[in-house]
C-alpha cells in the first residue's frame, strides 16, 4: 500500500515538472556521446521565462581575456542576423514572427501569453539596415534602411553581385554592389518556402555555397512534435539545396527540427548548422546540437532523436525512419536555442582559431536557464575537437535577460559581430589590438 502511494506521489511530482530541477548540469551534455535521460510526460512542463530588461548604460557582455567588446550599433529594432561585407559595411536583418499562427488548442492561448513575457516591447523593423563606420572607431556612425518592408526576414547572404534575403515565405534577391545604400525594386523571388499561416518556426536562414552555385535554406518544423498533424510538416524540418539562378530546389538533409546558422566550414568546405531540438520531454531533453549536414541524411525529427531514441508522442510510429536516423555531431546541451553559427578565422588567437562561435538565444523550456550566451567549440581539421566553452556571457542575470544573442558573423578584419535581439545591439568582439579597417573608398 505504501509502495503504491509512493509510486503515485513520485509520479505526480515528476509530472509537476514546473517544480523539477535538472538532474545534471548542462556541461554533462557538451560533446558527441552525451547522457540522455528518460523522457517524462508532464502536467506542467518545466519552464523558465527570463524577463527582458535590456542593457543599462555602459553595461556590456563579458568576453575572454585578450578580447575587447564594444556596442557597434544600439537602439536597433530586434536585430536577428548580421552580415559584414568586405568593404566594412555591415548589414543587419531586423525581424519578428509573422504573427499568423492560429490558436488551435486552449494551450495555444495560454502559451502565447506566457511566451509573450519573454519578448521585449520593441516593434521589429522587418527590414535590412545598413550600418557604416566611417571614422574607423569600431562603432557605426551611419545608419539607413537598405531594404524596407520585408516579410519576417531572417537569413541574408551576398554572392556574385546578388544580395539574398530569406523571408519567411521565400528567398528574394537584389542586384547589389557593396557600397550601395539603396536597392531597386521589390527583389526577384528565387524560390518560395513554406510559410504562414501556421509557420510555427518562421526563421528561414540561408547561405550560399563557396563556389556560388547553390543556396541552402533552412526550414524549421511547423510544430513542436507534429501536434498540428503530419501533413503540416510537408517540406519542413529540412535544409533545401537551391540551384542558382534557376531556383530549382530539392531537400538536401531532412529530420532537422529547426536548423539555423547555416555556415560553410572554411577548412573543409562542409556545410554545418545548429539545430533547436524538441520540447516538453524534460529539463535535459532533447539537447540542441551543432552538426555537419550530410547530403541525403535524415536526422530523426519527428520520429526519433539522437539516432535511435524514439519519441513516443508521434503516432503512427515509423521504425523504418528511426533506423535511418543518424545522430548529430556535437550536443550543445538542452534548450540553449542556438540560432547563429560562425567559424573563427585562422588568424584568431590560439585556442580560438578555426573554432565555432554559436549564438545561443537561451532557454524557456527549462527551470534553470541555459544558453543566453555566445558559446565556443574548438575545431581541428574541420571537426569539433574539445569541450564547449562560454565565450561571451553576462546576457542574463537574476533571471532577467539584458540581451539575447542570435546571429554571429565575422567581418573582414576578424571582428566578430553578434546580433542581440533583446538588447537591440550589434556587439563587436575583436582580439585585443586587432585593426579596425576604414571602409573602402567609393
Amino acid at each position: 500500500m505504501t509502495r503504491a502511494l509512493l509510486l503515485v506521489a513520485s509520479g505526480l511530482a515528476l509530472a509537476l515538472g514546473g517544480c523539477s530541477k535538472p538532474h545534471f548540469t548542462p556541461d554533462k551534455q557538451y560533446g558527441t556521446a552525451v547522457p540522455l535521460p528518460d523522457p517524462v510526460q508532464y502536467l506542467f512542463p518545466p519552464m523558465g521565462i527570463a524577463k527582458p530588461i535590456g542593457w543599462k548604460n555602459g553595461e556590456m557582455p563579458k568576453v575572454p581575456a585578450g578580447f575587447t567588446i564594444v556596442p557597434f550599433a544600439t537602439d536597433l529594432k530586434t536585430p536577428r542576423r548580421v552580415l559584414p561585407l568586405a568593404n566594412g559595411d555591415v548589414l543587419v536583418v531586423e525581424s519578428s514572427s509573422p504573427g499568423t499562427e492560429p490558436a488551435l488548442r486552449p494551450k495555444d492561448l495560454v502559451f502565447a501569453f506566457v511566451i509573450g513575457q519573454a519578448h521585449g516591447p520593441t516593434k521589429a523593423g522587418n527590414d535590412v539596415v545598413l550600418l557604416r563606420d566611417t571614422d574607423g572607431d569600431g562603432k557605426a556612425d551611419q545608419r539607413s534602411v537598405l531594404i524596407p518592408k520585408l516579410n519576417s526576414p531572417f537569413g541574408i547572404a551576398f554572392s556574385n553581385g546578388k544580395l539574398y534575403v530569406g523571408e519567411t515565405d521565400g528567398v528574394r534577391e537584389w542586384d547589389y554592389t557593396p557600397g550601395q545604400t539603396t536597392v531597386s525594386g521589390p527583389g526577384r523571388v528565387v524560390t518560395e518556402l513554406p510559410g504562414p499561416p501556421i509557420d510555427h518556426h518562421w526563421t528561414k536562414d540561408i547561405v550560399v555555397s563557396p563556389d556560388g552555385s547553390k543556396l541552402y535554406a533552412g526550414v524549421g518544423s511547423n510544430s513542436n512534435i507534429v501536434e498540428n498533424g503530419l501533413e503540416a510538416e510537408k517540406d519542413r524540418a529540412l535544409i533545401f539545396e537551391v540551384e542558382l539562378p534557376s531556383g530549382a530546389k530539392r531537400p538536401f538533409a531532412t529530420g532537422l527540427r529547426n536548423p539555423n546558422g547555416l555556415t560553410f566550414n572554411p577548412e573543409t568546405g562542409q556545410l554545418w548548422t545548429v539545430v533547436n531540438e524538441r520540447d516538453e520531454l524534460g529539463n535535459n531533453l532533447v539537447p540542441d546540437y551543432l552538426t555537419s549536414v550530410k547530403e541525403g541524411a535524415f536526422y530523426g525529427w519527428p520520429w526519433s532523436y539522437y539516432g535511435p531514441h524514439v519519441d513516443v508522442r508521434v503516432k503512427p510510429p515509423r521504425p523504418d525512419k528511426v533506423k535511418q536516423a543518424i545522430a548529430p555531431d556535437y550536443s550543445l546541451s538542452s534548450h540553449v536555442a542556438p540560432l547563429g553559427l560562425a567559424f573563427a578565422p585562422a588568424d584568431w588567437p590560439a585556442g580560438f582559431a578555426g573554432g565555432a562561435l554559436i549564438g545561443e538565444h537561451g532557454s524557456w523550456d527549462r527551470t534553470v536557464f541555459n544558453g543566453y550566451e555566445v558559446a565556443f567549440v574548438p575545431f581541428a581539421g574541420g571537426r569539433p575537437a574539445g569541450k564547449l566553452q562560454h565565450f561571451a556571457t553576462g546576457f542574463i542575470a537574476d533571471g532577467k535577460a539584458k540581451g539575447r544573442p542570435v546571429g554571429v558573423a565575422f567581418g573582414p578584419t576578424g571582428a566578430l559581430y553578434v546580433a542581440d535581439d533583446v538588447g537591440n545591439v550589434i556587439w563587436r568582439i575583436a582580439p585585443y589590438n586587432s585593426a579596425v579597417a576604414k571602409p573602402a573608398a567609393g
Binding site: 510526460q41 508532464y42 488548442r105 495560454v110 510544430s223 512534435i225 501536434e227 513516443v312 508522442r313 508521434v314
Partner: protein
C-alpha cells in the same frame, strides 16, 4: 414526512442557474471521452484538439455551475437534502479529475490522450453518471416530493 422545500437561491424566473449550466460539463466531458476514444483508434489531430476544447469548456462552465450549486446548497438551511452532500462531493471530485485531465491533454501529441488522458476522461464520465443521477434525483424526486407535500 414533511420537510421544508429545497428551493435553489440563485435562479432566474424560478429556474436555477445551476441547472441551466450543468448540461455543459455533462455534454462536454462525455464528448471528450468519445473524441479521446476516436483519437486512440485513429490518431488524427482534430480529435485531440476537439477533446481539449471540450475539456476546457466543460471545466470552466462546470466550475461556474458548481459555484451556483454550492450557494444554493449552503443557503438551504434545514431544507438541505442529504443526497445533496453526495452530489456535491462527487462532483467536486469530477472537477478535480477534469482539471488534471486538462493538463494531461495539454501535452503535445499521442501522450496527451493515451493512456492517461483517455483514462481520466472515462473516469470523469463514470463518476459523473453517478453524481449526475443523484442530482436529477434530488431535483425531480426529492424536491418534487416536498413541494407536493406542502399544503
Amino acid at each position: 414526512m414533511a420537510r421544508e422545500a429545497f428551493l435553489p437561491r440563485v435562479a432566474i424566473g424560478g429556474v436555477p442557474l445551476h441547472a441551466m449550466l450543468v448540461p455543459f460539463p455533462i455534454v462536454c466531458f462525455t464528448g471528450a471521452m468519445l473524441t479521446d476514444i476516436t483519437y486512440s483508434n485513429s490518431p488524427q489531430v482534430q480529435w485531440a484538439n476537439f477533446s481539449e476544447w471540450l475539456l476546457a469548456v466543460g471545466l470552466i462552465v462546470g466550475i461556474l455551475a458548481a459555484i451556483f450549486g454550492l450557494i444554493d446548497f449552503l443557503a438551504a438551511g434545514r431544507a438541505r437534502p442529504r443526497i445533496g452532500w453526495f452530489h456535491l462531493l462527487g462532483n467536486a471530485i469530477v472537477l478535480v479529475v477534469a482539471m488534471f485531465n486538462n493538463l494531461v491533454h495539454s501535452r503535445d501529441g499521442w501522450t496527451g490522450v493515451v493512456p492517461t488522458g483517455l483514462t481520466l476522461s472515462v473516469i470523469t464520465v463514470v463518476l459523473m453518471a453517478v453524481t449526475g443521477f443523484l442530482g436529477w434525483r434530488m431535483a425531480y424526486v426529492h424536491v418534487g416530493r416536498t413541494v407536493g407535500e406542502r399544503p
